[in-house]
Symmetry: C2
Subunit: 144 residues, 2 copies
C-alpha cells in the first residue's frame, strides 16, 4: 500500500459529476450529465465507429404513454448520395459517447443507404407500422 | 341480437389508426398516433383536471443511456404569480389526453406554486440530484 500518492486526485463534491480537473480527459461538464434536454439532443452529431460524422439528430420519436424514446431520426445532408433524407434508427442502435459529445452507431454506410428513409415532406410515422419496418431492418426487438 | 345496425361504422383499413369519421369524436388523426416527435412535444399544452390550461411543455429531460423521458419541463408565463418560470414534473405525473390534444396533470395550482422551479437563466439539472428533489416533492419513484 503506497504511503504517497504522487498524482493525488481532487476530492469531488458528493453527488457531483464534475470531472477531476487534473485527469486531462477534456470532457466538458455538460457531457457528464445523466440527463439531456430534448432540445439539445436535436442537433447532436452522430458518428460511425471510425469516428466520421454521418449526420445529426433531427428529432426523436417518443412513446406517448411510456415516455420511452423509440426512434432517433437522423438527418443526412445528401451525404449518402440520396439527397436530404431522414433515417429513423432504433434508440438502442445509438450509444452516447461522452468523449466525442455525440452518438455513435455501429452501422456502416451501405447499411444506412439501403435502410428505410424518407424525405423532408414525408411523415411515415403516421402509420404505426413504420416502426416495425425500421425494427425489422435493423433486427432489433421493438423498443416500446 | 340486433339484425340492423342503424349507426353502422365504416371499416378501418388494417393497421390504420384512422378514426371512424362518423364517430363524431373530433379527434385529429395526429392525436391517435402511438409515437410523437420530440419537437412536437415541445410546445404541447398542459391542463389541470378541470380542463384549464396551466402552461405548455418547454422541453423534456431524457436519460442519455436508457432513452427514458424522466422529466417534462413546463413553462408558465407568470401564471402562478412567480414570473416566467420552469417546473420539471416527473413524466409519470403527466397523462396524454387525446381528446384535448395535450397533457393533463393531477396537480393543483398551490402544489405547483410551491414546487421546485427555476428561472430562464438557470439550469438546475447540471446537478444530478435535482431530479431526486423533484421526485421527492411529487412523491414519485425515480423514473430512471
Amino acid at each position: 500500500m503506497p504511503t504517497e500518492l504522487p498524482n493525488e486526485r481532487a476530492i469531488r463534491q458528493p453527488g457531483s459529476m464534475e470531472l477531476d480537473p487534473s485527469s486531462g480527459e477534456g470532457v466538458a461538464l455538460e457531457e457528464t450529465r445523466k440527463l439531456i434536454a430534448s432540445n439539445k439532443v436535436e442537433g447532436t452529431a452522430v458518428y460511425d465507429r471510425a469516428g466520421d460524422q454521418l449526420g445529426s439528430v433531427y428529432n426523436f420519436m417518443v412513446d406517448k404513454v411510456s415516455g420511452q424514446v423509440a426512434y432517433v431520426v437522423m438527418s443526412f445532408g445528401g451525404f449518402l448520395g440520396i439527397g436530404e433524407s431522414y433515417h429513423a434508427l432504433p434508440w438502442r442502435a445509438l450509444t452516447y459517447e461522452p468523449r466525442v459529445g455525440g452518438y455513435v452507431v455501429d452501422i456502416d454506410r451501405d447499411k444506412l443507404r439501403d435502410a428505410p428513409h424518407y424525405g423532408a415532406s414525408e411523415d411515415p410515422f403516421v402509420d404505426d407500422e413504420y416502426g416495425a419496418k425500421v425494427d425489422a431492418y435493423y433486427r432489433t426487438a421493438p423498443t416500446s
